[in-house]
């Protein structure tokens, strides 16, 4: 399936453009649905588009798992459309390259940096690997242009019903800390994990949990 570049491109970037590609989240979703054919070098050579595709694939896997567990009950999209839209919106926002985070280096003629978008994508991919967890949003607070200055990461997650929230939160925090230490120059002061949703195999909406977690002292910092 061919994807048509957004017509608004003649006036500049469309508001929901991904990475200066001229494509929107919907365009990329359609491209993924079409099996990424015909091959589009504008998408495939664009880091932000590729991050979105990877995240969409992960969300797709997660959705299929839910569907497999509830094949004889309500479809996941009926109950979870709003929440899923929120996740997809977060993905589109987070992949924006944002600020460059410099690595220290001895050679003034060579600079190495990692984009904020790459870090956020890494956070999402790492969190999504924790069983039962799907990352909703992530945020990095702190002076990214000041090497060595401590920054705080906040990650909002959804946990599948049946998984212990504290264990899931701890696993997310540990995994993200290890990943960021390995791949980025960031000095991480804290990783706050907020569980704001629980979903069961029937995708029954159990409601935002942030207040309950806070009441229980379980906001795992």
């Amino acid at each position: 399936m061919a994807v048509t570049m957004n017509e608004n491109i003649t006036d500049g970037l469309p508001e929901d453009d991904i990475g200066g590609s001229g494509y929107t989240l919907d365009d990329l979703s359609a491209y993924l649905d079409a099996g990424r054919t015909p091959y589009d070098p504008v998408i495939e050579h664009n880091a932000e588009c590729r991050s979105v595709l990877a995240s969409l694939e992960q969300v797709g896997r997660w959705s299929r798992e839910l569907l497999a567990g509830e094949a004889e009950t309500a479809p996941v999209e009926a109950a979870g459309a709003g929440w899923m839209d929120g996740v997809l919106g977060a993905i589109a926002r987070e992949v924006r390259s944002g600020r460059d985070i410099a690595y220290p280096g001895p050679d003034l003629r060579t600079t190495l940096s990692i984009t904020e978008g790459a870090v956020r994508s890494l956070i999402r991919a790492t969190g999504d690997e924790v069983p039962g967890v799907l990352v909703g949003r992530s945020r990095i607070d702190g002076p990214l242009d000041a090497p060595g200055e401590p920054v705080t990461v906040t990650v909002t997650i959804s946990v599948r019903f049946g998984y212990a929230l504290q264990d899931a939160s701890d696993a997310v925090r540990t995994s993200i800390a290890e990943t960021l230490a390995r791949h980025t120059p960031l000095a991480i002061a804290a990783i706050d994990v907020v569980v704001d949703d629980i979903r069961d195999s029937g995708d029954e909406e159990l409601g935002p949990l942030a207040s309950r977690v806070a009441d229980a002292g379980g906001d795992a910092r």
Partner: protein, 106 residues
């Protein structure tokens, strides 16, 4: 517009251990859009500006999950400066992605 130097930078970058992919590096993105409107894009992914002692090379890469960023920096900068005309270039390497359990496409 693509240049022979940019093509060579793309080629050497793709073969540096630890680099999964090379992405478009031109900034601002308005430049990319202008190129596409003129039917020139995406062409090369790396970006070379100037020449000789004032040359600047910008490369945007995706790292493999097991890559060491500093080693990639040193290897890539060394290979770029081995290209005729870029011996004295400033090299800017931007990590735009860290591949995480995803197959590459190129």
């Amino acid at each position: 517009m693509s240049t022979a130097l940019e093509e060579r930078v793309d080629a050497v970058a793709e073969n540096v251990p630890g680099i999964a992919e090379v992405y478009e590096s031109m900034r601002p993105i308005g430049g990319r859009l202008a190129m596409r409107k003129l039917g020139l894009g995406p062409g090369t992914r790396s970006f070379v500006r100037g020449s000789g002692a004032v040359a600047e090379v910008t490369v945007s890469v995706g790292l493999r999950p097991d890559a060491d960023a500093a080693m990639v920096r040193d290897a890539l900068a060394g290979r770029i400066r081995a290209i005729d005309g870029l011996e004295e270039a400033k090299v800017h390497i931007r990590i735009s992605r860290v591949h995480h359990d995803e197959s590459t496409r190129i």
